[in-house]
Amino acid sequence: MALSVRERADTFGTLRYVSVFAMETLARWVPTTPDLEAKVVFGRHIWDFAQHADGLGKRTHELRAALHYTLPPLPSYQAALDTLRASEATGDRVAMFYQAFLPDHEARYRRFLESTDPFLDEPSVRVVERNLADLPRMIADAAALRAERPDIGAGTAAASALARQLAAADAYVQHRSPAANVTESLA
């Protein structure tokens, strides 16, 4: 059965939370990462995630939730996001973000596309397709950074550990109880 309007709003609200979280994580890393080329890649992608969050947040209003409705995810997925944000070495940050988090994020978008009716929910599909189109470019930017700066460290172990943590947090949308309030931004 296709997702209800409320379920779609909750999924978009959660994807918006994740996009804002990604934007803020990259923003925190820009001044705290020493490597110039990595700073530049993080800085460029802050704007990409801001645009993703914006599109998702406008759609939530059309799905009868608040404008820029933002819903924190289930605790296990939040814990994985916190692991990502806590990384410190440049190589770990790059690997965890672009080799673990982004592929998982892409998979969650694709799962949404599989679970919604593309005709009934066409505006949501368009938002997701636009966001998805940016992800390969961002991953390619990180690959180019690695080629230019192989000395920043591979971060393979950290990325693998995060990928496992994300995979274990398969369910991530915390659907609202009928009386739940909606929030407009992350606290």
């Binding site: 803020e24 990259l26 923003a27 705290t32 993080f42 800085g43």
Partner: protein, 268 residues
Amino acid sequence: MNRAAPTSTKTVRGVTLHGEPARETCFKVVSTDAEMAEWPDFSEQSRRERLHRHMNNECSAMEIAAQAVADFTDAPWDLRMAIARQAADESRHVAILHRRLKEFGGTKGEFPVSNYEWCVTGMIDNLPGRLAIENRTFEAGLIDILGQLKTTWRAAGDDRTADALEAILADEITHVRFANRWIRRLTEQQPGVLLLVAQAIRFLRAVNTALMPQVGETNTVGFTFTAEKQQAPAVDVDGRLEAGFTEEEVLEVLKQAGFRSILPAHVR
């Protein structure tokens, strides 16, 4: 729209400033103009130093915008979007200048760098104050400087660098414009915002007074600071008007820049 005090600080000539952002070990980070290696001529070495200095300043601007995205999570969403865009623009500027530096045979870390803008702006704990200092003051000053520099580089036969500076100038005008609009909007909604802006500007003036090189002081490559060097660059009137400054504000900048004598008597 307030956040906690800075986690690290440094003291320069009696003024407390924010601690440095992360830099690679190849960079020698300094705190004053006298410690920089700035040449007054336009030699190959001077050109590389100009590009290197500008690249690091854009890096500071990127870091300031990024930090604002991270710090002020309760700011209006459209304002956060504008700042996120600014971070991406500044990031592109760093990459453009780094590429040009390498084309000149230069390398990052070749000259000392100062993160002055970051160290000043980071001391301000509210978003209107930071916008007033970074966008409305530093970036507006950059409009004037770039308006002049693109002509200088072009006159020296370097169209490639001049084109890059012209593209950067267009972005900086956008950054100043959104800050002007938002400061006005926030002030209309909450008049107390004006006090935050005034406090931030007062702090900036105090820092400038303490850190400005004295006439006769010499930098690390033997260049002596003169009264002429201390003068503000020519004001880019069109650029500033495009950036949302009112005519009165531009006139005030012209007066401060020493153009009082050429202004019509009724506005002097």
